[in-house]
């Protein structure tokens, strides 16, 4: 039985069938992987540019960057601290017509449910990234995250892959060989 199946698969029609099956499987896998790399939608199309233009420092909302591995996403209490004093946030008519972005915030605060933000800058689990070391070394946020005064929802200006990291690490180390060894050691990021 199995031998007959193999014999049939070896003839031209069979080979075409195998090819189609392979392509179908491959496409399915590719689609699955593609899907896993798609982010869900943000709960608010957050206008970084507007906030940066008002003079807010990055670390005001993401203080974790200076203190630990994760920059953190601000709690809505932090948003509300300012927004509850802003007329257009409180005025529901204005919010409805001109400032729809504010509606989810007001809803979240009044119903006391958390806003489920979607992380933008991510590295795989096998990379141990720590913001604090980078901020302490004098790197500015925009060196990796781009100029936030120009974007609404944050986007990655580049892919955060190993090449990107190493390029910068090598540049920073320059001629300092001791530093170069430290900054390019596998165990610096993969441990």
């Amino acid at each position: 039985m199995i031998k007959r199946l193999f014999d049939w698969l070896k003839q031209p029609l069979g080979l075409i069938a195998v090819g189609i099956a392979f392509l179908a499987l491959f496409s399915l896998a590719a689609y699955g992987i593609f899907q896993s790399q798609q982010s869900p939608a943000q709960p608010i199309q957050f206008p970084h540019a507007t906030h940066a233009a008002r003079g807010l420092q990055c670390l005001y909302c993401h203080p974790g960057a200076a203190r630990g591995p994760s920059a953190g996403i601000p709690a809505q209490a932090k948003c509300w601290a300012c927004h509850q004093q802003i007329q257009k946030t409180l005025d529901s008519q204005l919010a409805d017509t001109q400032f729809p972005l504010l509606k989810p915030l007001v809803a979240a605060v009044t119903s006391n449910t958390p806003l489920e933000w979607v992380p933008v800058a991510m590295v795989p689990d096998f990379v141990q990234f720590n913001h604090r070391a980078h901020v302490a070394a004098g790197q500015n946020c925009e060196n990796c995250h781009g100029d936030m005064t120009k974007v609404t929802v944050a986007e990655n200006p580049q892919v955060f892959n190993m090449g990107f990291c190493l390029n910068c690490h090598k540049k920073v180390a320059g001629e300092n060989h001791e530093l170069l060894v430290k900054l390019t050691d596998c165990g610096t990021c993969h441990y």
Binding site: A29, S36, Q38, S70, N112, P114, W117
Partner: protein, 737 residues
């Protein structure tokens, strides 16, 4: 491989497949479909992805070990010991680790409840009503009609109620716990009083000793302060810096403490005093000089024949004890829970006089009193509890407040606490879990779980330094619970008059600060501060306050050997054939049965989980025609139990033993079981149901002084256990007897 597809081609294809997968995912995150749920109100000191650690105190038993709890995003994740706390120096026991299973227990009491007694469901009341009910109970009853029954731990709540009682004339709070009964604490302190002229809880420096003789003290399991004593034991066994110490355990059943001993002496129950005095006599003879009066009257030959320990063995033990430079004898547990318990405690303590180890490293001390304590306060003995229950039954109390213990489960059934409750008009429980006593109360006003509460706890024993362990909430309360101290303070304000004057505080934290503020001016502290806010902050940060110096007192041993000591054997109650030894489950103890981690943790000696068993020697079992898992009826003068058999080679053939810890009829889904109709039934049995009301001279229950009968029922109940039974008793080899 076929002709068409060579091995080489196959590997190429596989390589292409792997490479394309890698390229497609780009070595990126496994999935980008991620949502983050930030705090709604994030505390200032919290950072995403960083754990926050809080120092607090373990409330699982009364020892008062310090904990450091790791929290992440407002959830308690892991408990570890507080390395700063001199009592446990960074260690915990299994129960301390499992405290999270109390916090996250799905059966917690979530709201204040009013119920008809015995009815599992109840009506939710508001905290305003609850406070009013407590206030009315305080105000509308005569002071002598109000009673407080509290847990064993000498904590801040006990101080608060004691203060309230002192200035308003209500009955002083009574502290009790089942461990207190099984440890025979009253006997220990009474024996110390008789020998040294001063009551107090002795402290045994196991770590500094060379030879340790323990008479029934299961100090590696639950006895007094197990984490501290386990560390002491590690010191005893330390072989790198000093000679490895020797440990001999005297008891009729091999406990897991005895399992760690070099020699286990399975003496006949009731002969402990005789054996201790015989060893004392033989050791004194070896030492030379005149025979001390304490040991003069005992006949080692008689001791050997009555105890079942050979004379040569007694001589060998006496030699070991007399020739050691650091011998230590410890009385405790089952040895004291007999009719002659006080005599046993005195005889064993007197052995230490031969070694002359009082107040020396590796010897006997009085435990250091806690920083805000002036004299040793013992929790109630069962005799005192019997009087308390009698007062309840006589209708002397109109209102009873219960906090921190579950007397219906923890007291022997023969005391009939449950029936006595019927004569108390109003019973208010502050239970965190729906236990048997909460079920028989009119109101349950749930306290926070220990990890959600403020407080402090005096360390009664186990540390050389005087220690006050501090507690603080490590997470916000999950449910609509309220700190009992806050309820009482608010109720006292409502009741006004002398009650409000007794507790003039805004809340629990203010009360705590008033109690710890005198420590600011004390010298020799682990830390000090000039103002109370800073001091309280340090108190939270370090998990308490302790002195840097040794606070242990040296017992006055001048008169120990110059008195005659009784070598009388214990009397046993009941007509049964077997000595009955109830022992505390090392994993569950009195309140661990509702924590799945502890239920799933195999018993250290038998590996049984989730149930109760009776340990019977295989020789006896064979005589009775019993095999493992056969259910037997055990009858004492006080009660009857049905329990499956575990054949245990390390128990005397004339003795049987049952662990205490299971047998709950309430206390949540993990502590109980369901029958086939979905009705809640007992999980395992409670051996205290077999205990009659017989006491020793110090008022402790003679819990190990019963004789029982065994009868085969013909039923079987499979015990789940971790150990393999293949090959044991021929099981699985076709030769099973």
């Amino acid at each position: 491989m076929s002709d068409k597809l060579s091995r080489r081609d196959f590997l190429k294809l596989a390589g292409v497949g792997a490479a394309s997968t890698a390229v497609l995912t780009g070595c990126g995150p496994a999935s980008r479909s991620v949502k983050r749920e930030p705090y709604m109100q994030m505390p200032e000191y919290t950072y995403n992805g960083l754990s926050t650690y809080y120092a607090t105190t373990c409330r699982e038993c009364a020892a008062g070990c310090g904990l450091v709890v790791r929290t992440s995003q407002g959830r308690a994740i892991k408990t570890e010991g507080n390395a700063n706390n001199p009592l446990n120096l960074g260690k915990t026991c299994a129960r301390g680790q499992a405290t999270l299973h109390g916090l996250y227990n799905p059966d917690r009491v979530t709201d204040p409840i009013k119920r008809t007694r015995g009815n599992a469901s109840g009506d939710i009341v508001t905290w305003e009503n609850a406070t009013q009910i407590v206030a009315d109970a305080l105000k509308n009853n005569k002071p002598e009609e109000i009673a407080f029954l509290m847990g064993m731990a000498p904590d801040h709540l006990f101080d608060l109620v004691a203060d309230l009682a002192n200035s308003t004339g209500i009955n002083a709070p009574v502290r009790f716990g089942a461990l207190n009964m099984f440890e025979s604490r009253a006997t220990l302190s009474k024996a110390a009083e008789n020998l040294f002229g001063e009551a107090g809880l002795p402290f045994f420096d196991v770590g500094g000793a060379q030879v340790v003789f323990s008479f029934g003290a299961n100090f590696l399991e639950t006895w007094l302060s197990p984490v501290s004593y386990t560390r002491g034991f590690a010191g005893l066994r330390e072989g790198q810096t000093k000679k490895r110490g020797t440990f001999v355990q005297f008891e009729s059943r091999m406990s897991s403490t005895a399992g760690k001993a070099d020699e286990w002496m399975p003496l006949r129950p009731g002969t402990e005093a005789l054996v201790a005095l015989a060893i004392g006599r033989l050791a004194s003879e070896l030492r030379g000089g005149s025979m001390p009066r304490a040991f003069a009257d005992v006949d080692p030959l008689e001791a050997a024949s009555k105890s079942g320990i050979k004379l040569e063995t007694l001589e060998h033990l006496a030699e070991m004890f007399a020739n050691s430079t650091g011998a230590l004898a410890i009385p405790g547990g089952t040895a004291l829970g007999q009719s002659n318990g006080l005599a046993v405690a005195e005889a064993v303590l007197a052995l230490n006089a031969i070694a002359d180890n009082f107040g020396k490293p590796g010897g006997v001390f009085f435990s250091a009193l806690a920083p805000n304590q002036t004299e040793y306060q013992r929790s109630a003995s069962v005799k005192e509890m019997q009087e308390f229950v009698q007062q309840m039954a006589d209708g002397k109390f109109k209102v009873l407040f219960v906090h921190g213990l579950n007397p219906i489960f923890e007291l022997p059934a023969s005391l009939d606490f449950k029936n006595a409750l019927k004569n108390v008009e109003q019973v208010i429980s502050f239970a965190t879990f729906p236990d048997e006593t909460a079920l028989e109360s009119d109101y349950v006003f749930p306290d926070h779980h220990g990890l959600e509460s403020w407080g402090y706890q005096r360390v009664a024993t186990g540390s050389a330094q005087p220690v006050l362990s501090g507690a603080q909430p490590v997470v916000s309360p999950f449910y609509n619970t309220r700190a009992t101290a806050d309820v009482l303070i608010a109720a006292a304000q409502l009741a006004s008059g002398k009650f409000a004057e007794a507790l003039p505080f805004q809340d629990e934290v203010e009360f705590l600060q008033s109690k710890i503020s005198p420590l600011m001016s004390e010298a020799d502290g682990f830390f000090s501060a000039a103002d109370i806010d800073t001091f309280a902050a340090y108190f939270q940060q370090y998990g308490g306050w302790w002195k840097l110096s040794d606070g242990r007192a040296v017992p006055n041993s001048a008169d120990v050997l110059n008195r005659s000591l009784s070598s009388a054997e214990a009397e046993f109650a009941g007509e049964g054939e077997f000595f009955f030894v109830p022992f505390v489950s090392p994993t569950l103890a009195e309140a661990g049965a509702n924590k799945p981690w502890l239920q799933e943790l195999p018993d250290p000696t038998t590996t049984v989980m989730w149930n109760t068993w009776v340990e019977i020697n295989p020789v006896t079992a064979e005589e009775l025609g019993l095999k493992d898992d056969d259910v037997v009826t055990i009858t004492s003068e006080a009660g009857v139990l049905e329990v499956p058999v575990y054949r245990y080679p390390a128990i005397r053939p004339d003795t049987i033993a049952i662990p205490f810890g299971q047998g709950h009829t309430a206390y949540g889904r993990y502590a109980t079981a369901l029958d086939e109709n979905g009705k809640i039934i007992k999980r395992g049995v409670n051996p205290t149901d077999l205990l009659g009301q017989h006491f020793n001279e110090a008022g402790d229950l003679a819990f190990a002084g019963m004789k029982v009968n065994i009868k085969k029922t013909g039923k079987k109940q499979l015990l789940s256990r971790l150990e393999s039974i293949m090959g044991v008793y021929g099981v699985g080899l076709g030769e099973e007897k």
